[in-house]
């Protein structure tokens, strides 16, 4: 990408440069002025991130030790009561389990399918450009719209899924009554919507790989599987690490699909993930202090996972 932008540029710009002043003076002047200008350029963004990302992150920890209704001006300090409630309640265990299952399935499912699709659509097949666009399209659509639409797609009496299953003589599972099937349903919907992302990342990685290696492997008469494992897969490692971090962060945060499809139900918390629990405790049950506790726990989990991934990635790069 960078190369084609740059290619024509030097001839157009370089001749216009006038005689240069002594380098040292320019350097000094650049430094003094640089600080002022850098501040002017950066401050608005830094203030916004500070006030609306980092301030609430810290404030959240304070709030997690309180009993607080979000519309009340005062919050009562109650120590670790919220934490002991969260860690001991069986509802929280269900929520944690839902989060783990949903996230793991979303990460593994969308990455495996995205890679398979990328391998398929990297081949020279008629119509592949149209199919590439089609696969990516759901990713740009609002999650809330997908959730609303797929509530009807999975409708037990008039939906698409029950109709298709009926044609092969299978009764549709109770997607809106059975918590396991409900979780399955939102996971499938999430993967359907977000598959385009893992697909384009893997496709770009495949297109950027070194064809000579593939050819060499081919001359060695390696089988397709061996060639993939020994030649292609190692070249996809940076893309895989990148996806692991971003897809995990994104799927951990899913809210719109769950809110529009199941409201966290059935049976109270059948599809409630941690993010949904934060929302529900804070804004539906009016227990903002407890919501902040769940949010803090969630952040700690994300922090540990991300740090671990960065460690692993750094180790991978050193080798």
């Amino acid at each position: 990408m960078a190369t084609d932008i740059v290619a024509g540029a030097p001839s157009g710009v370089a001749p216009a440069a006038p005689p240069r002043p002594p380098a040292a003076r320019a350097e000094q002047r650049g430094r003094g002025r640089g600080l002022l200008i850098a501040a002017a350029f950066l401050l608005p963004n830094l203030v916004l991130l500070g006030v609306f990302t980092y301030r609430p992150l810290i404030d959240n920890i304070r709030l997690s030790f309180t009993d607080w209704n979000i519309s009340s001006p005062t919050a009562d300090y109650i120590g670790f009561a919220n934490y002991s409630e969260w860690f001991t309640s069986s509802a929280s265990h269900t929520v944690l389990w839902n989060t783990v299952v949903f996230t793991a399935a979303a990460v593994v499912g969308s990455m495996a399918l995205g890679l398979a699709l990328a391998l398929l659509l990297d081949r020279k097949l008629f119509g592949r450009d149209a199919v590439r666009s089609l696969v990516f399209a759901p990713f740009v659509v609002a999650g809330a719209a997908v959730g609303v639409a797929f509530q009807f797609v999975f409708d037990p009496t008039f939906g698409l899924v029950q109709d298709l299953l009926g044609r092969i003589g299978v009764d549709a599972p109770a997607f809106y009554q059975d918590p396991d099937w409900a979780l399955f349903m939102v996971t499938v919907t999430y993967i359907w919507k977000n598959l385009g992302y893992t697909f384009v990342i893997y496709l770009a990685a495949l297109q950027g790989r070194r064809a000579e290696l593939d050819e060499a492997a081919e001359i060695d008469a390696a089988s397709t599987w061996t060639r993939f494992r020994k030649v292609t897969w190692p070249q996809l490692r940076p893309a895989t690490f990148f996806l692991l971090i971003t897809v995990l962060l994104n799927s951990f945060q899913v809210f719109d699909i769950i809110d529009t499809m199941t409201r966290g139900g059935p049976l109270g918390n059948g599809t409630t993930t941690m993010v949904y629990q934060v929302y529900q405790e804070t804004f539906v049950n009016q227990r903002a202090g407890f919501g902040a506790t769940v949010a803090t726990v969630m952040f700690l989990i994300l922090l540990v996972i991300t740090l671990l991934q960065v460690r692993v990635m750094e180790r991978g790069q050193q080798q």
Partner: protein, 304 residues
């Protein structure tokens, strides 16, 4: 692979010829056997069915009359075809208001984020000042903090400021930009050093340098950044849901969920029409400019 013995001696010349002409990676020759091609097209067909059928079904259902939506088995062609659901969307909820709000929120956030992102990236890439790497870390690390964690405290703050049910309340807390800053900075750093240094020696002011030298070499990345921002902001759901009680400032996804609340289950027609109307603008933008958007999304990922 059964064809390898016969292809080995032929692959050499064929591949080098292809490598010279084609820009994409040449697929291994062994895969182009008829059986493998057939498998490829079977896969293609499966993908099309899995992605397109739900979309098609939502579209045709929105064009059906009410009794046809609630009939078993499902009909694959709307007969008779009607646009009644689309006119009913507007009578169910204030759909045009939601559309207007979506346009206002998305345009404002896109302009603000692109300007702030470009300025921040320029400072991080070209200006020398103490603590630059810390500032970069401050910006990138914020990518790791989801809105869902900050929303409680932000809600309280914005409510205290009296910003609920205002565009300010929706826009300002979402206006900080981390991903775009990172994307633009990486691109700026990839620009040829000689040109940047020449411009610096030229003692052009930073704004002039940005406008005259840096941006003209950055349009593809800038367009990608803009598109990604438009898509993200158009699809915002949780924060506007918390900020807006009604159609005065709520954007389309929130309006759609409200439509689903009032009409869903009993009257799917208008809800599905609303869904199609919510998806359509962004799909059209995407179809026109997808190459640019994909470039931006893949920029950071592949180099590792």
């Amino acid at each position: 692979m059964t064809t390898t013995q016969t292809t080995t001696d032929r692959t050499g010349p064929r591949h080098s010829a292809r490598a010279a002409t084609a820009t994409t990676t040449a697929p291994p020759a062994a895969r182009t056997g008829p059986l493998s091609r057939l498998g490829g097209y079977a896969g293609l067909l499966l993908v099309v069915l899995l992605v397109a059928v739900p979309l098609y079904w939502i579209l045709i259902s929105s064009l059906k009359e009410r009794p046809d939506i609630y009939s078993v088995p499902v009909g694959w062609i709307p007969d008779p075809l009607t646009f009644d659901n689309y006119s009913a969307v507007g009578s169910g909820v204030a759909f045009t208001d939601y559309l207007r709000n979506s346009i206002i929120i998305t345009s404002a956030l896109t302009v603000i984020q692109v300007v702030l992102g470009v300025l921040s990236a320029f400072a991080l890439a070209f200006l020398r000042f103490p603590g630059r790497s810390l500032v970069l870390l401050f910006i990138i690390a914020s990518l790791m903090v989801p809105n869902q964690i900050t929303m409680i405290s932000n809600y309280a703050l914005v409510a205290n400021l009296g910003w609920r049910n205002t565009f300010t309340g929706i826009i300002v807390p979402l206006a900080g930009v981390a991903f775009g800053t990172f994307l633009m900075r990486n691109h700026f750093l990839s620009l040829p050093k000689e040109i940047i240094e020449a411009a610096e020696m030229d003692a052009a002011g930073p704004l002039r340098m940005l406008w005259r030298v840096v941006l003209p070499m950055s349009w593809p990345t800038l367009i990608a950044f803009t598109l990604i921002t438009i898509v993200n902001e158009w699809n915002q759901y949780l924060w506007p849901l918390l900020m807006a009680d009604d159609a005065r400032v709520a954007p389309l996804p929130v309006g759609l969920a409200q439509l689903q609340d009032t009409q869903g289950l009993t009257n799917w027609g208008p809800v599905l029409a609303g869904t199609v109307l919510t998806m359509l603008p962004i799909l059209l933008i995407f179809l026109a400019l997808q190459r640019h958007m994909i470039k931006g999304l893949t920029a950071g990922a592949v180099k590792g």
